[in-house]
């Protein structure tokens, strides 16, 4: 199997550092537009999205094109998948057209790992079920490093629906590899105790005050209603106990940054005032998404 990018867990620290360093090179100069590069000229990248996505899909497309690659995006709706073709057959069909890499998002945890065992083509995981979303963690790390000299020793609070969050899992693996202190916070049914075993340096908290105390970084997660089979608490109580408001920020370090993988739900995970505050780096994250994905595609394809 050719090496793609399936998860953060199996990367080592130096590989992550190389990607983050290269991504810095791809960040746009302020007030300037991108130059178009040619390093992936003649390569074809297929984006295969079995789950709805706007930012990740567009981000991968732009990343590939800025490097000179051809891209083709397929959404599961309207493809042969809806005609009953199995995932393996769909991928085999695509592979027969010889693209150089497949970027895939899928609702089933492990779907890219399953395919990687049966296909020779590199697969980039753009989010698999509730397992991992490696490029999100990389862009989050790039964003933190734009505001802090190092990840080591930082206190990072990740708050929300941890159980169903691939973003949280990838971030935990990445941050732990660099020695950050990670506090995962959410209502108990969305915060399985076993998360504490996911990586070294992980603590769990059921209330926001504990989680935010002294935090350098606060990552809010989207409430994944589509993956929850039952409500973790009475509707209407969620924002009251697990939503981020301006007054919470007093508890954190003065230079705390607030992150969110998007799409944000104002008034559900965080208040509008927080989303628009100076502490919010949400749009930097989006910008870094392109840079990090350029670094990942270049690494895999050139």
């Amino acid at each position: 199997m050719s090496a793609g990018l399936l998860d953060i867990e199996s990367l080592d620290r130096s590989e992550i550092e190389q990607i983050l360093e290269r991504a810095k090179f791809f960040q746009p100069p302020p007030n300037d537009t991108y130059r178009r590069l040619e390093s992936l000229k003649g390569k074809t990248v297929v984006n295969l999205f079995f789950e709805a996505s706007t930012r990740t899909r567009v981000s991968f497309e732009i990343a590939a094109r800025r490097l000179g690659a051809e891209t083709l995006t397929i959404a599961a709706q309207g493809s042969s998948v809806s005609k009953g073709e199995s995932l393996v057959d769909t991928l085999n069909t695509l592979a027969a057209m010889r693209p150089h890499a497949i970027v895939m998002r899928h609702g089933a945890s492990g779907a890219p790992h399953f395919l990687a065992r049966h296909l020779r083509i590199p697969i980039v995981n753009a989010g698999d079920g509730t397992h991992e979303h490696p490029t999100q963690a990389l862009l989050d790390a790039r964003t933190i490093l734009d505001h802090r000299p190092s990840l080591t020793g930082l206190r990072v609070a990740i708050i929300g629906d941890i159980a169903h969050s691939r973003v949280a899992r990838s971030n935990v693996h990445l941050l732990a590899k660099f020695g950050a202190e990670i506090v995962l916070c959410g209502p108990p049914s969305l915060l399985p105790r076993e998360l504490a075993d996911l990586a070294p340096g992980v603590q769990l908290a059921w209330n926001m005050t504990d989680a935010i105390q002294g935090a350098d970084v606060i990552m809010m997660l989207r409430v994944q209603l589509e993956r929850q089979h039952e409500a973790p608490m009475a509707s209407g109580e969620y924002f009251r106990f697990y939503g981020l408001r301006l007054d919470h920020l007093q508890l954190a370090k003065p230079n705390v940054i607030v992150m969110h993988p998007g799409p944000i739900n104002r008034g559900r995970e965080l208040s509008s005032e927080v989303a628009d505050s100076q502490k919010s780096v949400i749009l930097n994250q989006v910008e870094n998404g392109v840079a990090v994905r350029m670094a990942v595609l270049e690494r895999i394809l050139s």
Binding site: E9, S86, L87, V88, H106, A108, S109, G110, A111, H113, F114, R117, D128, G129, T130, H131, E132, A163, R166, R169, P192, E194, L195, D197, L198, H229
Partner: protein, 427 residues
């Protein structure tokens, strides 16, 4: 009139306490004698030198998929796999299409088995109509047609009152009630054992408690009714402890474990290979250790495979979409030897018990022994033959085994049913 002399082997017959070099003479389908240097002019002869000669092994928990799901397995192919795995008797669960909840379906299975195989196929009837958990099935008529137990296997009876009535009725027909213990509300949507591994992999968990609460309920109902109750594929530390406790209180409970639940853990699921997906799910080290301790101490009565064939296309999917279950008939002896006997946890005699007197006792079968007059069913196996299991070469129609490519030491040599050689290892 035919006769077969199996000579030169080491005979182990736990029912009579015999373990030593001996010959076994089978005449007209029944064991005639076990002893040294038996003379049998005119008999066919089977050379068992270097091998162990045991009563025919019984697998009390298999899925044969016929009628209705013949693309995955048939009675014929399942029985072939059984013979190739050293089993002379298999008990098939009722989750066919239609469900075996009537004498008609039971009779079909019995009749069909007679036509296509020499292996003894003993059906298990449903507890409730359609295994829907509501109305009792035609248990008495099925018993007359040949069932040896009742179970709603993969669709366990959730209503405790219905389970109580089933246990009461089972008393009248002298059969055990077998339960696949799973609280369907607790396990709903689950993909694998709930623990650090499921959290890491982002797969939905099936907690041990979903098994344990049902074992607890059933033990209390067994005490209430006095019925014979059997726990299918027990897999957790707590369930082993509860069964041990119930036995000490005189509750009529027995239980089985599968080879995969004592051989491997949920650590195997890291590759999202659906051949590791089954119910109950692969548990943790401490559960495997408790299961093995239960085998050593005698809490566990039988090893059963829960052979669950699924066509390749069904298993070649995203993990969460694949059906539960793996094949097991052809790897059971090899796994028992490698994980229990070669590791020194039990002697080979105890292993033979778990495949013979154990299940025969649970089901009150006149089998599982080489005493004169018993059915001439014999399993010949060895302890040292090196071999590799190749799922593609399996006699089963389905190839969904997590043990594909596994290296084994010791395994089945020959399978004899009613004095007739039905399978022999290729030389």
């Amino acid at each position: 009139m035919s006769s077969l002399l199996i000579f030169g082997g080491r005979v182990i017959d736990p029912a009579s306490g015999f373990d030593g070099p001996a010959d076994v003479l089978i005449r007209d389908g029944l064991v005639e004698a076990v002893g040294r240097n038996l003379e049998a002019p005119g008999a066919s002869r089977f050379d068992a030198a270097g091998a162990i000669v045991a009563p025919g092994f019984i697998d009390m928990h298999v899925h044969l998929r016929e009628p209705g799901i013949e693309h995955a397995e048939t009675i014929e192919t399942g029985a072939k796999a059984a013979a190739a795995g050293g089993f002379t008797t298999i008990c098939c669960m009722p989750n066919t299409i239609p469900v075996n909840d009537s004498a008609t379906v039971t009779s079909y299975i019995v009749q069909r088995a007679r036509e296509v195989t020499r292996v003894n196929v003993l059906p298990i009837g449903a507890i409730t109509k359609g295994s829907l958990g509501e109305e009792l099935a035609a248990i008495g008529s099925m018993r007359e047609a040949g069932i040896v137990a009742i179970s709603d296997d993969g669709r366990p009876v959730m209503n405790s009152r219905v389970m109580r009535r089933a246990m009461e009725l089972a008393l009248a027909f002298d059969i055990p009630v077998i339960d696949h213990c799973e609280d369907l509300n607790l396990s709903a949507g689950g993909d694998m054992h709930e623990g650090p591994q499921s959290v890491k992999l982002g797969l939905r968990g099936i907690p041990s408690a979903s098994e344990d609460v049902m074992v607890a309920r059933d033990l209390l109902l067994a005490e209430l009714t006095g019925a014979r109750y059997h726990v299918a594929h027990l897999s957790t530390q707590r369930s082993v402890a509860m069964v041990a406790f119930a036995k000490s209180k005189g509750i009529k409970v027995t239980c089985e474990v599968t080879p995969h639940h004592f051989a491997i853990t949920d650590e195997e699921l890291g590759t999202y290979d659906s051949n590791f997906r089954m119910k109950p799910p692969l548990r943790r080290d401490r559960d495997v250790e408790a299961v093995i301790e239960g085998i050593v101490s005698g809490v566990i009565d039988a090893i059963a495979t829960d052979h669950a064939p699924h066509a390749g296309s069904e298993k070649m999917q995203e993990f969460e979409r694949c059906p539960f279950g793996i094949t097991g008939l052809e790897t059971a002896i090899g796994l028992s030897l490698s994980e229990l006997v070669h590791t020194g946890r039990i002697g080979v005699g105890r292993m033979v018990e778990l495949f013979t007197t154990g299940p025969a006792g649970v089901l009150k079968l006149n089998r599982g022994t080489l005493k004169p007059g018993a059915p001439g069913d014999v399993t010949v196996f060895d302890l040292d033959h090196e071999w590799i299991f190749d799922a593609q070469q399996s006699c089963s129609k389905s190839k969904n085994s997590p043990f594909d490519g596994r290296h084994f030491r010791g395994g089945p040599v020959a399978t004899i049913v009613g004095g007739e050689l039905v399978w022999q290892r290729a030389q």
